[in-house]
């Protein structure tokens, strides 16, 4: 394999094998039993004929054949034990691959949390299994050929060394041809696999998008696009078949030609003192031992080898996504002002975008969140509220500007065991299979025992105590699949509460709770001594609980109290209008027969001429501009 990937794989493979010399030795020893069996399969026949049946001594003939039968059984034992050695090789390889896939998938997920997990699961279950099966097939085919060939050739040598003069040249020529075509053939095989996958992927897109294709009237366009992929696949398949002829030829030369040559050279061999039995023995070696071993080698090695290489390369390649998306340069440390205590969170002229060519989500944002305060972040969906928490938590690095937590540049990396400065709970609560204790103590430093009351109090504070009680206490098992979304969020909140980090970032962490439960959880954090709370709010009640509200709208932000924002921002009024409904039905059971305007205020605003009131994106800016709230920068920190 000329390309760097091939070199890397080969080096890794050699290291892997070198570390398992003992296993290889064991494999050799057991395989030698098969060599012995192969040896006797021809040798015993030759002797049984020469010294037994042809010499009129049937007992001797039968004795040799019985010996060969015993060898068959012993050889089979060798086959069986060689699987033990094979198991070590293959399972070690699989262990390594599973570890690699898990590490890689986790690293990629941490770097880009939103790209799905299906690829990782398919790598873990399907591709690793392909690597496992093909590697075993390769080892067994190569092994069986080598040890069979040694047995057969040594057998011929023992019967009459001149036999090798006739047999070896075509065998070597055939093998040489096979080895020469191995690389081009495996390239064709890899090309075919790639084309086949492309077809499968395309078919998947088409099948999932049939409705959309029809609705767009794009049938012909899709047919021609897919047709190209199909034709490309067929072309690789034909190329593979053409190269396969070389394989058939190699097999013919190596397996069949020696038989014919043996007959051609027959008179000469007989003159050299080769016996009739030896001739039969040699022919037996060629047809019964070498032929099947060659067949396995030639047909197995080509296809399985390419599959193995392709899958292995894919599994071991470090994906480009595996690093945290840190961009820009290292953050300069700020000059601390000793006179003032540093705020819990401070953003200085922060600009952030999700790619070099992408437009910024956050532009030159200044923000100060003093210790012990409570900030709500609001805005339409997709506007960058979660990006803000990601920046504050150090998960994202700004393109420009500074993010300071407790006066220090924030960092995402932390050694296990250190205490956290800040803790972030995202919308998708992380609950894992294990006990409640493990789940609740997850963010606590160290692995030492955590006193029960700490965990119980945390659960009680955020309202997860009922859940804990129903499940049966701290040591009962957590089955994430059995939890409702709200229960998962409660558990995550309790975990966060148990952790002493002073800065708490709740990114829609309560979105599945009802307003009452949400209020309880938020207030628990707000009242916890020394806690600074930043909440990405999705209900007006949640926003109103905060002292200050940051409204995000595109790259523009408005900052102020609830009243100020109501007065200043039409967008905020829109949000409040559309949100109120949630808060006006705290426990839902009242049903729709109640006050329709209370339950469904959208109906009211709709009827009241929302087209005039709700202002589109651009108009917000236009309205704001006269009030001097326009620029992308902050309207002001505290």
């Amino acid at each position: 394999m000329a390309e760097p990937g091939g070199v890397r794989l080969r080096a890794q493979g050699l290291r892997f094998l070198a570390a398992r010399r003992n296993v290889l030795l064991l494999l050799t020893v057991w395989s030698l039993l098969e060599t012995g069996q192969t040896f006797l399969s021809g040798y015993a026949v030759a002797r049984a004929l020469d010294r037994g049946f042809l010499a009129g001594r049937q007992d001797v003939g039968l004795g040799w054949l019985a010996l060969a039968a015993v060898a068959v059984v012993i050889g089979a034992y060798g086959t069986r034990r060689s699987f033990d050695a094979l198991a070590v090789l293959v399972e070690d390889l699989r262990d390594g691959l599973v570890r690699g896939v898990v590490r890689q998938a986790l690293a990629a997920a941490v770097a880009r949390p939103h790209l799905g997990e299906s690829a990782a699961v398919s790598r873990l279950t399907q591709q690793v299994e392909i690597a496992r099966d093909t590697s075993a097939g390769l080892v067994m085919a190569a092994r069986s050929f080598v040890f069979t060939a040694v047995g057969a050739l040594y057998g011929m040598f023992s019967l009459a060394p001149v036999l090798l003069v006739v047999v070896l040249p075509p065998l070597a020529a055939g093998l040489g041809l096979f080895l020469a075509t191995l690389y081009p053939l495996s390239r064709r095989q890899a090309a075919f696999l790639a084309a086949d996958e492309a077809v499968a992927q395309d078919m998947g897109t088409v099948a999932a998008g049939l409705r959309d294709i029809t609705a767009c009237g794009a049938e012909e366009r899709v047919a021609s696009r897919s047709g190209r992929l199909l034709a490309a696949e067929a072309a690789t398949s034909r190329a593979l078949a053409r190269w396969g002829t070389a394989r058939s030829a190699a097999f013919g030369v190596a397996a069949e030609a020696p038989i014919a040559l043996l007959l051609v050279a027959g008179p000469w061999l007989l003159r050299q003192g080769v016996t009739a039995g030896a001739m039969v023995g040699a022919l037996t070696y060629l047809t019964q031992s070498l032929r099947p071993a060659l067949q396995n080698l030639v047909h197995g090695l080509g296809a399985a080898g390419a599959r193995f290489t392709v899958v292995l390369r894919r599994l071991t390649e470090a994906p480009a996504t595996a690093q945290l998306p840190r961009q820009g340069q290292a953050q300069p440390q700020p000059q601390p002002d000793p006179a003032l205590p540093a705020p819990a969170l401070e953003l200085r002229a922060v600009t952030f975008a999700y790619g070099d060519r992408a437009e910024p989500v956050v532009r030159e944002l200044d923000l100060v969140v003093p210790r012990g305060s409570h900030l709500a972040v609001v805005g339409p969906s997709g506007i960058g509220k979660s990006t803000l928490t990601g920046l504050a938590a150090g998960l994202l690095a700004p393109r420009a500007g500074l993010v300071l937590v407790d006066g220090e540049s924030v960092s995402a990396t932390r050694m296990d065991g250190q205490s956290l400065q800040r803790v972030l709970i995202p919308q998708e609560a992380f609950v894992f299979t294990g006990t409640f204790r493990e789940n609740l103590a997850y963010l606590l430093p160290g692995t030492g025992a955590v006193p029960d009351p700490v965990l119980m109090d945390a659960a009680a504070a955020v309202g997860a105590d009922g859940l804990l009680r129903r499940a049966g206490g701290l040591d009962s098992a957590v089955d994430p699949a059995a939890f409702s979304a709200a229960e998962r969020q409660l558990l995550a909140l309790a975990r966060c509460y148990a952790c002493p980090a002073p800065l708490v970032l709740l990114d829609e962490a309560t979105c599945h709770l009802d307003p009452v439960a949400e209020a309880r959880a938020e207030l628990a954090f707000a009242r916890r001594p020394g806690t600074t709370l930043v909440v990405v709010a999705h209900r007006i009640s949640s926003a109103r609980r905060a002292q200050r509200i940051l409204l995000m709208d595109g790259t523009r932000t408005v900052f102020g109290s609830h009243r100020e924002l109501l007065r200043l921002s039409p967008l905020y009024r829109d949000l409040v209008g559309s949100w109120s409904r949630d808060d006006l039905r705290p426990s839902y059971p009242a049903g729709p027969s109640g006050d329709p305007y209370g339950v469904h205020p959208v109906a009211r605003t709709g009827l009241a001429g929302d087209r005039g009131e709700i202002v589109a994106h651009r108009s917000v800016g236009q309205i704001e501009r006269p009030r001097d709230l326009r620029n992308g920068g902050a309207v002001g920190a505290e």
């Binding site: 026949v45 049984a48 004929l49 049946f53 054949l65 034992y77 086959t79 034990r81 699987f83 094979l86 198991a87 599973v98 898990v102 880009r112 949390p113 790209l115 997990e117 279950t125 077809v199 088409v206 099948a207 999932a208 049939l210 959309d212 294709i213 609705a215 009237g217 047709g227 199909l230 394989r247 013919g252 069949e256 038989i259 007959l263 051609v264 009739a276 945290l324 999700y354 790619g355 070099d356 992408a358 437009e359 989500v361 339409p380 969906s381 997709g382 509220k385 979660s386 990006t387 932390r414 709970i425 995202p426 609950v431 994430p480 979105c511 999705h538 027969s593 109906a603 709709g606 087209r611």
Partner: protein
Amino acid sequence: MALTADPDPTRRSAGERLATRQLLRDTVRSQAGRGLLLCLLSCLAAVGTLVLPYAVGRALDALLLHGGTAAAAGWTRFCIALTAGMLVIDVLTGLITGTTDARTALWLRGRLLGHVLDAGPRTTRRFVPGDLVARLVGSAATASTVPTALAGTLAAALVPLGSLALLLWTDIWLGAVFLAGLPLLALLIRTFVRDTGDSADRYQRAQGEIAGHLVEAIGGARTIAAAGTVPRETERILRPLAELSRQGHRMWQVQGRSSSRVVTLVPLLQLAVLAVGGLQLASGALTLGGLLAASRYAVLAAGLGSIVGRLNQLVRGRSATDRLAALLAEPAAVYGTDPLPAGPGTLELRGVTAGGTAGATGGGTALTGIDLTIPGGTSLAVVGRSGEAQSLLAAVAGRLADPDSGDVLLDGVPLRALPRRTLRRAVAYAFARPALLGRTIGDSIGFGRDAADDSVHDADALVTGTLVSEVLVTDAARAACADDFVRRLTEGYRTPPAEAPMSGGELQRLGLARAFAQVRTGRALILDDATSSLDTVTELRVSRALAGRTHWSVPGPGAAPTRLIIAHRAGTAARADRVAWLDQGRIRALGRHEDLWRRADYRAVFATDAPGDAPAAGDGAAAGDGADRGDADDGEADRSG
């Protein structure tokens, strides 16, 4: 979609069996010449395989008896010619088999894909997408081996049966030993092989645990990233690895045991034949060459089992063809040729009954006698409790599905009578969960238009270039409030959809943008729950853009398109000019939302307020506390470069 798959797509009618036979015949016929050639070659090779041991035996006998005489030389020459001939035949057979399989697969897939595209969503009603892919990829590959497998069957049977006959002909006793020994040995070996394998189960369970833990951790990636617990998570995920390894070892042990027994069968049988043959040789009943040939025939005859394998392959091929024929059984949509006269885009449903045929609605209610007229340029919201056939109504209204009876007319012309292009340029759809089909986001937005629409005639532009003018795409995106977030993607409009992590709401906005672009010169727009994951502010902006058509840099027709809106929110219904209330598959009331709202039973329709279709995971919209909250920021935070 509410049009879910038939619960039992394997049910077969006489027509489908006929379709299978027809497809099978077509498949074989498509490769008739090559198949015949292959059959001929493989039979020649089989005869060669059978003759060769005999010839080698005769050559050996001649050699041993007469030394280098003419007789020996003759047989030897014959063997050489035979070997060389068989080599050539082998090479040719391999080549023709490989290329024929490739041709058959291409032919089959092309035909099926064309049909599936023509049948459109009618197909996905019976086959879920995963099943469809499995058929188009896997089943087609299996079915494509039918012509070559059929061609080789005769030869495959010829070799072992011929060998057995030749063995019996060479010496009746040898044949008897073989026939007696085969079942005996097979039985002996079978008793030794005990099925010890629950290890495979446990192996898969451990694998499943690791995968499960990994999926959990990936789902909680943001938490893990923020807490810096990657090493601890890795350790936790890999905890079942030891068990996996243990069971893996056991699996190989089991396989080692069984294969060690299998490898004894043929050699022992052959030794038995040799032993009896040796005795015959000593008594002069058999020559040495005869013995050599007999031992080879014993091995070849042991391949009897492979005939079963060969037949199995054919059976598999047939059942794969069966699965393909089921796809063809779904009728393709037939389009008309009538022109569409100028008009405002009045959409009219006349006595439409749909979903009556089995499986068409997946348990949802069907539509019965729907009469509706949506005057050109106005909007109509269709509301109803979840489970009502709103999506079916939407599908019928733009001819994604055909009604069982009744007609849908656009400006007086039945949709059935319109050519495909005309229809799709006139009526556009937006869905709750659109599938993005272009190579880039921009391409996906322009997917409802094609080269002809924008007078680009270069065929390559279809594949490589930007199909639709960028202005049109960005205009449409802006109208759907998608422009902002698309620009923030790593590659902006050039980002491939698969690399752009999107929330349900963002996906919907792209689907809306696509519909906007498509309907720019069209007449009607059908929104099937297409704004359910938008927050209310965004939804307002989108519906304003819809009603106004003010967003085009290049002006299109001035009037707004006719809109049919499947709505689950009261707010959405309130903004429509009129509301059709669907109940039990019939129109229960038709009027303005504010009038209908006075009725308690109408208000009750919105009580649960849950969308009929499952929303995107993480949308949280259907989680019980009000669908209107929408996708409220879900997922946008997790995008990264």
